[in-house]
Symmetry: C2
Subunit: 198 residues, 2 copies
DNA sequence: CGCATTGTGTACCGAATGGTAGATATATTA
DNA sequence: TAATATATCTACCATTCGGTACACAATGCG
């Protein structure tokens, strides 16, 4: 234990309280007031722990990636059959985006959609952009592996397919936030998978 | 000409100046200050002409639908071949979302993504929701016509397909706003159309 | 105990938000 | 010309924004 007065809240636990607010409202939309209230602490305590709103968001984004997005990727890579892996990835995405225990849709898509504003720091914008590129890349690498495994024909345009599946997930986030039902979105996934002939 | 002092700007022309600001920043993100500056007029003049920010946005949304979205629908219904119509609809959507003469992506998707905030009036939220439902319905009706024309097999799930294509356009809006190139997005459209066997 | 160190909340900062009061300018009507 | 009606802009309103100064509370160390 260090010198001075001990902190009355766990900064890691605080991220779990802060995350849903950013998830629902994006970077701009979430006020520091509301973020502090979600943690159950005053504004200066949040600033003392994280520095500023930008750093707090970046920490929450990391938490989002490790606590939610990572699970999707893990599944994508553990399922041996390429097509089944992508299909289950899309279905898991739908399940995540429509889970009632947290806001609908994708934090990254939600935050990125409003990141053109001057009120959004460049570091936040670039982190969101990097996360989206990373998601497309993960899909692309899985498709390339499927190609090596003979689950995908040799002359398939793997890059185009990856961008396509990533675009579908982006659209699913929009639909989830607009209130489209999980059942409907699962049907959308079935349609999306038809582009990949078995 | 009525009594009093004549207005020094055309409210219809003003909508064309206001629209790109809402398109880029959404409802919350666009400040009345900036909207007035875009028109080249002071805030009270805008308020005198439209009432408040909410009414101004709804007017801009109508303009967006008639000046941009309507063209897409018209093409969708004029092309006789069902599959070609949908394909061209998606390609036209990409062209619209990546047109450099106005903000990237879709006004409706951009504004709807941040409409959870309490700062967004319920009327705006419901208008955006209605526009999205309308878009899906337009596609669904076109697919039903294609089915009657024998361009789509009888047992196809037209509703699911409509939601699917609408989800793709939502995703294309997100991608366009994130900076994905037009060429890449046209490849995505090709992939998306593969789900509809010719 | 006294001292240094650190976390805490209250109460504030300047700036920006949506919206408006009120004075003034420009038109038609009588 | 006088009266009426509407548009215009400056200057302001209360509120909220991200961020902080400061007094005080709670710890470890001597």
């Amino acid at each position: 234990m260090g010198r001075g007065r001990p902190r009355e809240f766990d900064p890691e636990m605080a991220l779990d309280r802060v995350l849903p607010v950013f998830w629902r409202d994006g970077f701009e939309g979430a006020s520091v007031q509301e973020l502090a209230a979600a943690v159950g602490v005053s504004k200066p305590s949040l600033y003392a722990a994280y520095g500023n709103k930008e750093a707090l968001f970046l920490a929450a984004l990391e938490r989002y990636l490790s606590a939610f997005a990572a699970g999707l990727v893990e599944q994508l890579e553990s399922e041996p059959d390429g097509r089944a892996a992508v299909r289950q990835y899309l279905r898991d995405t739908v399940a995540l985006y429509t889970d009632r225990s947290h806001p609908f849709g994708c934090l990254i898509v939600t935050a990125a959609t409003t990141s053109d504003s001057a009120a959004v720091p460049a570091a936040v914008r670039s982190a969101l952009c990097a996360s989206m590129r990373k998601a497309a890349t993960v899909i692309e690498e899985r498709l390339r592996r499927a190609q090596r495994d003979g689950h995908l024909r040799e002359n398939a345009d793997v890059s185009a397919m990856a961008h396509y599946f990533h675009t579908v997930t982006s659209g699913l986030s929009v639909q989830a936030k607009a209130g489209t039902s999980r059942e409907t979105m699962l049907l959308v996934v079935d349609e999306a998978m038809k582009s990949w002939a078995a």
